[in-house]
């Protein structure tokens, strides 16, 4: 039975190897995000990353805003009227020209859907010859950054159905979609009438691969040329491989523990500090995340001027943690778990497996908190349980990865999360000073001092407990040049890639 079986197997394998691939002309991208539909509000980030759709404003890796479909912008004295000069001779992929009216229409549709734009006090979008004028109800200094966000991408009018839902991806980018098969794949080729430089790689594909292990295997086997987001173990493994090059960059995303500060166990800063002291960030970073260091404050260095190097770093000191809790009246019980007034110090930590490291970190936290007498029950569930629990007030602890760069200016996230609190930010905690500072920054008033103060308050009060700063990792097949990681997670940088000769 061995022989026929083996020869059949060998034959099939040979067949598989003999079939022509399409290496050399097509670049295959694998990333975890699924393509849901042509709708920008859900899938837009993939289209901008793939260079299919574009936004009015662009950003460089340092977060500096650059001209995109708008060549420049200006704001009135009172900060209420913005004028975006639009690039000329831009064609949509269906051959129609981009006009001020089409831009206004696209943005009008975008702000009717959930997303950052919806939260802005926009009074009117007015197309003018060669420009778009946005009238605001109150000043928003970061408006250009909001317009750099993927959901503010500009699609042709024919891309939308009568109800405003996108039915096709008709953008302006260097690549044009040739086939879109939700949820897993997309193909695109270079758009010859692109307004900018033609990309080097004539065709690209995108494959959604949800499982990190599978992505890693695809990178290793050469089945994908450009693999976005690798799990920690893979990074270690792939970095030893000649077949791929690993790129890694710090990004403005933090792994943090959201604390219900209204919870009777957690309503004092001392209690939260005790939890913070229980966390061995360095060990966690090395063993689980395989990062060189853990987070010693909320804002990662990648956030530029928001990172405050002067802050006292968060430390690991279980003894100090126990002392703090003892000071709050907690007494160890027979099993080592603290109790106070007959109540055990038992908490539920909610997290979600969409990011594979989160349940792992949760498992580690469970042990590290147990060491100071805090009992943790881990509920690894749907990600929506965290904002839902926030709204219902039932969440106790949430372990999550927070992106401070939903728009290339962190102020948007700070405003929604900490001034005063938000679904993915502070809970049951209010600080008037932070709210005032953040709102001022949003209006375009203030600068580094205000940012440093915000960081200091968060460090002292710990409405959320920082654990790690994320690194974005990327595997690129050896022989592909020009890869860079966009820390703002807006672009894969495909137009800049080239196949080495």
């Amino acid at each position: 039975m061995q022989n026929p079986f083996r020869s059949l197997l060998a034959g099939l394998v040979a067949l598989g190897l003999a079939l022509p691939g399409h290496a050399g002309t097509t670049l295959d991208v694998a990333a975890p995000f699924e393509i849901q539909s042509p709708e920008p509000s859900t899938t837009g980030h993939i289209f901008t990353r793939m260079g299919i759709a574009e936004t009015l404003v662009d950003a460089d890796p340092q977060g500096r805003l650059l001209p995109g479909l708008a060549t420049g912008w200006s704001v009135s004295e009172d900060g209420l009227t913005w004028r975006f000069t639009l690039r000329e001779n831009v064609l949509f992929h269906d051959g129609t020209p981009m006009t001020p009216a089409t831009v206004a229409g696209a943005l009008e549709i975008a702000r009717g859907k959930p997303g950052p734009l919806a939260s802005l006090p926009i009074a009117a979008l007015t197309p003018e010859p060669g420009a778009l004028v946005i009238a605001l109800g109150e000043p928003v200094a970061a408006l250009p950054a909001f317009l750099a966000e993927a959901r503010a991408q500009i699609l042709a009018p024919s891309a939308y159905g009568p109800d405003g839902q996108a039915v096709a991806v008709i953008g302006t980018g260097p690549y044009r979609v040739t086939s879109l098969t939700p949820p897993l794949s997309l193909r695109a080729t270079a758009f010859p009438e692109y307004w900018g430089a033609q990309p080097n790689v004539p065709a690209v594909t995108y494959t959604a691969v949800g499982r990190a292990e599978t992505r890693a295997l695809m990178a290793e086997s050469g089945d994908a040329d450009f693999v976005f987001t690798l799990d920690p173990a893979t990074v270690t493994r792939l970095s030893r491989s000649d077949a791929v090059e690993i790129l890694s960059v710090a990004i403005p995303r933090s792994l943090l523990l959201k604390v219900n500060a209204a919870h009777p166990f957690l309503n004092s800063p001392e209690a939260r500090r005790a939890l913070s002291l229980a966390i061995d960030r360095a060990g966690l970073a090395q063993a689980v995340l395989r990062y060189p260091q853990g987070a010693d404050q909320l804002f990662p260095p990648a956030m530029g001027d928001w990172h405050n190097p002067a802050l006292d770093p968060l430390a690991h000191d279980p003894d100090a943690a126990r002392a703090l809790l003892a000071g709050l009246g907690w007494v160890p019980g027979p099993d080592g778990i603290l109790s106070r007034d007959g109540q055990r110090l038992a908490l539920t930590l909610t997290t979600y497996p969409d990011r594979p490291e989160l349940p792992l970190v949760a498992a580690v936290l469970e042990q590290q908190f147990r060491a100071i007498g805090v009992e943790l029950t881990i509920n690894s569930t749907n990600s929506s349980e965290i904002p839902a629990g926030h709204q219902a007030g039932t969440l106790e602890l949430g372990l999550l990865a927070r992106n401070f760069a939903l728009i290339p200016d962190p102020i948007g996230t700070i405003l929604s999360d900490y001034a005063p609190g938000g679904d993915w930010g502070a809970m049951g905690w209010q600080n008037a000073e932070i709210a005032a500072l953040a709102q001022a920054l949003a209006r375009g008033e203030g600068g580094d001092a205000e940012r440093a103060r915000i960081a200091a308050i968060l460090q002292e009060q710990l409405p959320v407990i920082p654990i790690a700063w994320y690194q974005q990792t990327l595997a690129v097949r050896t022989g592909i040049e020009g890869a860079v990681i966009d820390p703002w997670e807006r672009s894969f940088g495909l137009p800049g890639l080239r196949f080495a000769e």
Binding site: M1, P4, F5, L8, L9, L12, V13, L15, G16, L17, L19, G21, F33, E34, Q36, S37, E39, S41, T42, H45, K113, P114, G115, A118, Q165, T181, P182, P183, L184, S185, T207, V209, G210, R211, T214, R215, L217, M218, E220, S221, D223, A224, D354, R355, T381, N382, S383, S384, E385, P387, A388, Q391, L400, A401, N403, L406, S416, G422, D423, W424
Partner: protein, 309 residues
């Protein structure tokens, strides 16, 4: 005719069951369905109150129980599966996309298993108790004890990771078929081989099989003219039942290798609580089973005129 009527009844009850189960799922989602759906739609970075409220308003998730159920079943029997909560696309269209991918994978797996299993089984069944028969028993038992996901894992580790022969995942080219098809086929072939072997042994022990030889036909002629046809009936019937096993395998394997098929979509839909998609895919799989078995019933009735009993 009665075969088809009973299959029709089966199909209707399958639809009822799926409808009721998914309705129950819809009604009993732990937590708030709107939140879940918003998370599936907008991703964990962007799910917030605004998104959840938008979903709630759009879907009208609140309402009285009985009316909603009747409405739900009514839609189902009008073959209106609704719109995916996550993607907003009609469920029918989404399934239309995915069904093809799954169908090809399933066909490849079944084809491969039929190439491997029954010939070996018939060879063993011709000489029950021989060394070959016993070896096949050991091998097929061992293969049967390996769940399909484990088979996929082993094949990935060996063929993709260690040897680098085959892509571990991906879709679109013929070489992508080999690994998942094999992962599915080996388990199926293990059972196919047993069925064929038992059927062959039993046919070989039948008086007509001996009589055909006594008539003067050679062994090969007897096998070809009388053996294969009689073995094919139980094998065929079993293939129909195996469909469920195949579908389960497809669900798991597709998730592992990132195959854009109906099984992958199902797991995803369950995870994202995209109930219309769950309903659509489940219904498609259940009705697929009924259809495949109805066809097999007809085919078996053609081969075996003795009628269904």
């Amino acid at each position: 005719m009665t075969i088809l009527v009973s299959r029709l009844v089966q199909a209707v009850v399958v639809a009822l069951l799926v409808g009721a189960a998914t309705f129950a799922m819809m009604r009993s989602l732990p937590g708030d369905a709107a939140w879940r759906i918003a998370a599936g739609r907008y991703g964990y970075d962007n799910v917030n109150v605004a998104a959840a409220e938008a979903v709630r308003a759009e879907l009208g998730l609140d309402g009285p129980w009985l009316g909603a159920f009747l409405q739900w079943m009514g839609d189902l029997f009008r073959l209106d599966f609704g719109v995916s909560l996550v993607s907003g696309q009609p469920v029918i269209a989404e399934i239309g996309h995915q069904l093809g991918a799954s169908l090809w994978l399933a066909l490849a797996a079944v084809g491969l298993s039929l190439v491997i299993g029954p010939p070996l089984g018939i060879l063993a069944g011709l000489r029950p108790g021989s060394l070959f028969d016993r070896v096949l028993l050991v091998v097929s038992t061992a293969l049967k004890a390996v769940p399909q996901f484990l088979m996929a894992l082993i094949l990935i580790l060996v063929l993709s990771v260690q040897l680098g022969w085959l892509p571990a995942a991906g879709y679109g080219q013929p070489r992508h078929f080999i690994l998942p098809a094999f992962a599915l086929a080996l388990g199926l072939a293990a059972v196919n081989a047993r069925i064929a072997r038992d059927a062959m042994a039993s046919v070989g022990a039948m008086p007509f099989y001996a009589f055909a030889q006594w008539k003067g036909l050679s062994r090969a002629q007897v096998l070809w003219r009388h053996g294969l046809r009689n073995v094919s009936v139980p094998l065929l019937t079993y293939l129909g039942l195996q469909f469920v096993l195949l579908v389960e395998g497809v669900v798991v394997i597709e998730s592992i290798v990132g195959w854009p098929g109906i099984g992958h979509a199902l797991v995803h839909a369950v995870f994202a609580r995209d109930v219309p998609m769950v309903q659509g895919t489940a219904l498609m799989l259940g009705l697929g089973f009924v259809l495949v078995n109805a066809l097999i019933d007809l085919l078996a009735a053609r081969i075996d005129p003795r009628g269904a009993r």
